[in-house]
């Protein structure tokens, strides 16, 4: 197995773990945690491709990762702000209890 494949597999696994967390946990914050893991897995992919890609000096993957980290910070802030607002509103963070949009 090449190093790239190793990193990609780790990233795939991390992504799937995050997805599983986001899909199975009740707590909204934990769903967000899962999403963060997925984002991280994507970042890992970007860095790995940058490192083993044909043109590391172009810095494309690296830049993608750095911007993605910056965006993730904003995403986390807004997401958690939403969760806090949700909690104030519904007095729970249990996603199973939040189904008022049911058709």
């Amino acid at each position: 197995m090449t190093p790239l494949a190793g990193f990609l597999l780790v990233a795939a696994l991390l992504f799937s773990i995050g997805l599983a967390g986001a899909l199975t946990r009740r707590n909204a914050i934990l769903v967000l945690i899962g999403i963060e893991l997925m984002l991280n897995a994507a970042n890992l992919n970007l860095i790995a491709f940058w490192r083993y890609g044909p043109h590391p000096e172009a810095l494309t993957g690296m830049m993608f990762a750095i911007f993605s980290i910056a965006v993730a910070a904003a995403e986390a802030a807004v997401g958690l702000g939403l969760v806090i607002h949700l909690h104030r509103h519904a007095h729970t963070t249990d996603l199973d209890a939040m189904n008022r949009m049911r058709g």
Binding site: A5, L23, I33, R51, A72, A74, T93, D96
Partner: protein, 167 residues
């Protein structure tokens, strides 16, 4: 494939798994921190020093703290009594597994097609990154700055709204 890689990968995945599986929310957040740290180490292992340090600074220094604050503010620090998984969690697991299977399959089959060359360690300094940020990527940089400002204001407004209305 060095030993260090396997160790770090194991640490990262263990952290990720724990973050998803643990019952106590705060433990989950702390495990998430471990996963973040492992990720940063993976970045270092990939010779992406700047990205690794930025990962620590942003994720451990900010996101993890934020998560922890959110947990405390939503009174989620106690271990819940009932199940921590949602009703149809099995389906979710299956889907996640399917996604992983697809991804893994794709990785294994596509990487095999990539010609193996000894990848030289790229000599990228912080200076290069700075130059790239200020020249080729200056527009995305400005947009990210705008986004962060908007997110800052947005987060404050979302979190403040209820209190304002209560007045």
């Amino acid at each position: 494939m060095s030993i260090a890689f396997y160790l770090i990968a194991a640490l990262t995945l263990a952290g990720g798994l724990a973050a998803v599986l643990l019952k106590n929310t705060v433990h989950c957040a702390l495990a998430l921190t471990v996963a973040f740290a492992g990720q940063a180490l993976l970045f270092l292992d990939l010779d992406a020093q700047f990205a690794g340090f930025a990962q620590i600074l942003v994720y451990i220094g900010a996101v993890a703290i934020l998560v922890v604050f959110a947990i405390l503010l939503t009174k989620g620090s106690e271990t819940p009594k009932g199940s921590v998984y949602s009703r149809h969690s099995f389906a979710g697991l299956v889907i996640a597994a399917a996604v992983f299977a697809m991804l893994g399959w794709a990785v294994i089959h596509s990487v095999a097609a990539v010609p193996r060359g000894p990848a030289a360690t790229p000599s990228v300094t912080v200076l290069d990154i700075g130059n790239a940020l200020m020249s080729r990527y200056v527009l995305p940089l400005e947009i990210v700055a705008l986004l962060l400002t908007a997110a800052l204001i947005g987060a404050v407004i979302i979190a403040m709204h209820e209190k304002e209305r209560a007045k």
